[in-house]
Amino acid sequence: MTTFTREEITIAGVKTVYLTAGSGPPLLFLHGGGTFHGFEFAKPWAKDFRVLLPYHPGFGESGDDPDLSSMQDYVMHYVELLDRLGLDRVNLVGFSLGGWLAASFATQHTRRINKLVLVAPAGLRIKEAPTVDLFRIPGEQVPEMLVHNFEVIKPHLPTGFDVDFAVDRYRETTTVARVAWERLHDPKLPRWLHRVTVPTMLVYGEQDRIVPAAQGPHWAKLIPGATVKTFPQAGHLVLDEKPEAVAAVQRFLQ
């Protein structure tokens, strides 16, 4: 049974907590805009990889720094984290907001990546299949929009109103607002995605109601050689919902 070890490191003054398990080539996973559903899904990866699951600053157990106010600040945070951990190259998996971060990282530091997986990434504005603006959705309606099968997410939700849960979500949403309130995408990303020259796979849940799976081909057009895998009966949290998706990522990275 895989268990995560909790580690702590200070990056440019910000307490950064990461969970880790397994050994082998490093796999860095960048989470999305909310951490309440945890990292259970990532456990199978520990069989083949040294899995690193950091909380971004302003999320989960990591510290806050209001000065981190752009996606570029988060790219720099991870450049420094890799340097500090002595990791020259990693397999990079980014989900949702973390997919946007991973894509930004990849445009600038493609040499530090073995393979790249973008799971339902945010970051592109695609007029034909727009990303839902979660800032417009009342908090209580968000969980059911994240999944195809509500049972998957239910254990992570409080029963009834819970002040701690509300405050934690508010803090993480504030962190997202700092980098993405003005724009939920990076208009420069399409211009530079061609610089991602490592094998890249995109993963979607077919019923994703936040980042439509129809965005996949747009990314694939912009990243040379990228492939798209879509999993039926799954929503935005495709990794939580579909062990097959987790396994597909694992196979791709091997």
């Binding site: 002040v163 509300a166 607002a177 309130w181």
Partner: protein, 393 residues
């Protein structure tokens, strides 16, 4: 010129849009997303005409000021641009202060507000007073400014406004949010160096601290009495540390009151309109009240644990939480005297129109307040006592 301890009374008008559809309760919020299709511009025209007349009446009745403020995308207020209302009042009034309480500086370009307010002060021959609010959480859902950086932007905007008014232009300004190659505001205000200024807050320590640092007055709306008192106590204590004397005119209290012949008559006439104000005009969602980053997580925790002031409130809760009173002139004067003494405030913002109050009630309330309540309060003011006792000696 009134002295700082002289009680002064401002007529505060929210200028609400009151012609709501029968089924308006289906809108969870009367802010942000309440559809603008329910606004009828013909009725809006009639309301503007009426409300402006009521403000002009305040000047004639001897109120010291007429207060307007800014809100967006709501039935609560028809003043997304309060400077326009102020400009309309200037030629129709002669002596009362024009109080724009006010435009959230961070929702506008700060030099633009400096220009507008400069115009108003020059146009009115120095009758302008301004209060600077951060803006409610609701404003940030309908403006493109990031709520997570709102406070930092607010602070910088105040800095720019003060520089633009206190220093001679042209100058350059280099900030985190704004760069001015030539900050050179025309016209500078009529009053030197600038009109009297207040900060508007919700009782948060940061804003009180800022008012103390800058030597400004402090005013709050919809803050429970206990939190207002705490804020004023902090202002009194902290202002001198930054070389600014605390004077009573730096503490503004806002009172909702209705004056009638008897207590029963006052309640009978006023209650439904007061409840409309709280239940229907102020109705909004917790999400709209606190957009992401508008408050700290710790502050949110405090608010989630406190009472909801934007929903269903009982009469008891209302009168315990807010400066709310109705009754005979004696009763209203007594309450206001007590509150102003407790808050050590000499500036009273009077909400004499609220919610769906019809014109006749507003006129009645304003007239009785001006003719029956204000004289009673002025005779109770500390200075008056002093003058009387000196005369006795």
């Amino acid at each position: 010129m009134p002295r700082p301890d002289d009680l002064q009374f401002n007529m505060f008008h929210f200028m609400p849009y009151i012609h709501l559809p029968e089924d308006h309760k289906k809108y969870e919020s009367m802010w942000v997303d309440v559809p603008n299709t329910i606004y009828d511009p013909v009725k809006g025209n009639q309301l503007y005409t009426r409300y402006l007349r009521e403000m002009v009446l305040a000047d004639k009745l001897g109120f010291d000021g007429m207060v307007v403020n800014e809100h967006h995308s709501t039935t609560y207020s028809m003043m997304p641009a309060p400077s326009l209302i102020a400009a309309a009042l200037i030629p129709q009034t002669t002596r009362a202060k024009i109080c724009v309480f006010g435009t959230p500086l961070n929702l506008e370009y700060p030099h633009r507000v400096a220009e507008e307010y400069g115009m108003l002060d020059v146009m009115s021959g120095g009758r302008l007073e301004v209060a600077l609010p951060l803006g409610t959480g609701m404003e940030y859902w309908v403006n493109p400014i990031n709520p997570a950086t709102a406070r930092a932007r607010f602070r910088e905007s105040i800095d720019i406004l003060l520089k633009a008014w206190r220093e001679d232009g042209p100058m350059a300004y280099e900030g985190d949010f704004y760069t001015y190659r030539y900050l050179n505001v025309w016209p500078k205000p009529y009053q030197k160096p600038h009109p009297r200024m207040y900060l508007v807050g919700t009782g948060s320590p940061e804003t009180v601290q800022l008012a103390a640092e800058l030597g400004m007055g402090y005013s709050s709306v919809f803050v429970p009495i206990s939190r207002q008192m705490q804020a004023f106590a902090e202002l009194r204590e902290r202002s001198p540390k930054y070389g600014h004397a605390f004077t009573r005119d730096k503490a503004i209290i806002g009172v909702m009151c209705y004056v009638a012949e008897t207590k029963e008559k006052a309640e009978q006439e006023w209650m439904e309109h007061l409840f409309f104000f709280f239940k229907d005009a102020l109705r909004t969602t917790p999400r709209y009240l606190v957009p992401p980053g508008y408050v700290t997580p710790a502050e949110l925790r405090k608010r989630l644990s406190g009472p909801n002031l934007h929903g269903d409130l009982s009469w008891d809760a209302l009168t315990q939480q807010f400066f709310v009173v109705c009754g005979t002139p004696d009763m209203v004067a007594e309450s206001i005297a007590t509150w102003s003494e407790q808050a050590q405030s000499s500036r009273i913002n009077c909400f004499l129109h609220l919610g769906t109050m019809p014109h006749w009630m507003t006129v009645k309330n304003m007239t009785l307040f001006a003719e029956e309540v204000i004289p009673r309060l002025r005779s109770k003011a500390p200075d008056a006592h002093q003058a009387l006792s000196q005369a006795a000696e």
